[in-house]
């Protein structure tokens, strides 16, 4: 892959990919590391000549695999026990929404992000996460239910 082609791909995909990883992992340092690892694996795979439209889901798939590896190694266990949001909130803005979202399980955060921020279909989410379409449907339903409970609780606090 030439530098110019990489630059076009990076400009189009780096930001959404970083936001996705940061949101799901809950950590900016992890997002920095995994972002570089995603592009490294893409270049190493020999598929780097693919179009941006095809490379984007492929990069999300690599990111999902890397995040899954972290969960398997127990990297998220510490995160779930935290009291404070892992993503550094802006000091002048509220932290309640950040905290609320981070109280969801990583899998739920991942599915909600792909469904509502990336606006992927169930089939596309299945391709990215390696789950089957039926599992995506069920897990997304549960994630929505959890999010609704948290949003309702937050609404009642006000």
């Amino acid at each position: 892959m030439e530098e110019q082609a990489f630059s076009a791909l990076y400009e189009a995909t780096a930001k959404p990919l970083w936001r996705y990883i940061a949101h799901v992992s809950g950590r900016q340092d992890v997002a920095d590391d995994l972002l570089q690892e995603c592009y490294f694996r893409l270049l190493r795979s020999g598929r780097s000549e693919m179009k941006i439209a095809d490379a984007r889901p492929y990069l999300f798939r690599i990111a999902a695999n890397l995040l899954h590896d972290r969960w398997r190694r127990g990297g998220e266990l510490a995160l779930e026990k935290r009291d404070e949001p892992a993503i550094e909130p802006h000091p002048e803005k509220g932290v309640d929404t950040t905290r609320m979202l981070q109280s969801l399980k990583p899998r739920a955060r991942q599915l909600l992000w792909l469904a509502y921020m990336e606006e992927m279909t169930h089939r596309e989410i299945a391709a990215v996460t390696g789950l089957n379409v039926m599992s995506v449907r069920i897990l997304l339903l549960r994630a929505r239910r959890e999010a609704r409970a948290l949003l309702t609780a937050k609404g009642e606090e006000r």
């Binding site: 990489f6 630059s7 940061a22 490294f40 795979s45 598929r47 695999n65 950040t98 979202l101």
Partner: protein, 102 residues
Amino acid sequence: MKEELPQQIRRAILHAEAAAAPHDLPTSRQAWSRLQFRLAYRPARGRYTVHASTLGVALYVLAFLSWMTWSGWLSASLLAVLTSAAAGAVCLSLHISRIFRS
């Protein structure tokens, strides 16, 4: 009218995004140079180990079976089948290793 759940969730995520401290990503030039460095200096050990070991096993099985069944045309046709199977196994291993690498 009450806001629908998908919109509520999207809004909550966007709100959390807005609340996060700003973060600068490396420029594409920086990322490219780091990746080129990593690609150039990645450890060579293990790069071809999977293919070499698969090929080794396939050749060993092929040699063993040809030794066991060496008798004229039957062995020749069997060898042809086994050779194509070995080639298929190598291709499959390459495909699987590519999937795992991603």
